[in-house]
């Protein structure tokens, strides 16, 4: 996503919904992912399944393409729930929503909820990601 289409952190408010993002995870992408994380389990390739953390990684990438976080933003915590298995060549739609934006002293806490479904609108993954940002982020 071009930078001009990204939303600035200062513009975010609780309840803001990012535009949904769609991505397909094919055999080549899954193979690259498994190599990157050094996962040699037969669980995925033999059964044609996608590692849930690959789905999560793409959901997070889609999120980062939609938001301009200020320098110094730190990913502090993460929750994921793997709801259903997903197959190689499935197409996913990731939806993200700001659930909390709060000042904490010299920092700000930003919490974003993620929900990913497959091409049959079946829920695959849900998550919650939290960032801490420096106060000057509001001005940048």
């Amino acid at each position: 996503m071009p930078k001009e289409q990204k939303i600035e952190y200062s513009q975010l408010e609780a309840g803001y919904e990012f535009p949904p993002s769609s991505y397909k995870l094919d055999n080549s992408i899954v193979a690259t992912y498994l190599k990157a994380v050094e996962d040699t389990s037969s669980l995925y390739q033999d059964a044609g399944l996608v590692p849930p953390m690959a789905i999560a990684a793409y959901a997070m990438a889609a999120l980062s393409e939609g938001i301009c976080l200020p320098p110094g933003a730190i990913h502090v915590s993460q929750e994921f729930e793997f709801i259903n298995t997903a197959n190689i060549n499935d197409t996913f739609v990731s939806c993200a929503r700001v659930s909390r934006k709060q000042r904490r002293g010299k920092f700000h806490l930003l919490v974003i909820d993620l929900n990913v479904s497959n091409q049959k609108q079946k829920a695959v993954l849900a998550g919650k990601t939290s960032f801490i940002l420096p106060e000057y982020g509001e001005d940048n």
Partner: protein, 143 residues
């Protein structure tokens, strides 16, 4: 309470899951950036990263978290892939050259309605014993 599931015979509270050890290299990090489409320069641009308070590149937190998921799927198979939950905090960045040990310990096993709920404490530590990730996982298995 003791039961068997997946590759773990005699599952019980207090039991340790088989550890995973990974050596972090810049090559791993670059490959993960490509695989995940996360090209934040703090991970892949050494010149940029040296000028930040971190002083050098760091691994993606999601890369280290992927190791946690690997440990869980190795132990619990598809029960982890559909029904697994994790909740973690990123404590210290992992850097190239670090050896990360991922460990898990079953903290609770509860049976109800033909299902067993399992909670595990998970920890990723570097070679200096510093916590990189701490948290817990939950899943249910048919039993």
């Amino acid at each position: 309470m003791e039961m068997s599931v997946g590759q773990l015979p005699g599952l019980s509270e207090g039991m340790n899951l088989p550890d995973i050890k990974r050596v972090i290299t810049q090559e791993n990090i670059n490959l993960y950036a490509e695989a995940s489409r996360d090209f934040n320069p703090i991970h892949i641009d050494e010149d940029f990263a040296k000028k930040t308070p971190l002083g050098g590149t760091i691994a993606h937190g999601m890369l280290i978290l992927a190791y946690v998921s690997q440990m869980m799927s190795a132990a619990f198979g598809q029960s982890w892939l559909a029904g697994g939950k994790l909740s973690v905090r990123f404590k210290t960045p992992a850097r190239p050259g670090d050896t990360i040990t991922v460990s898990g310990r079953i903290s609770r096993v509860e049976k109800s309605d033909g299902q067993t709920s399992i909670r595990c404490d998970v920890l990723c530590q570097n070679q200096n014993g510093e916590s990189v990730i701490t948290g817990e996982t939950n899943l249910r298995v048919e039993k």
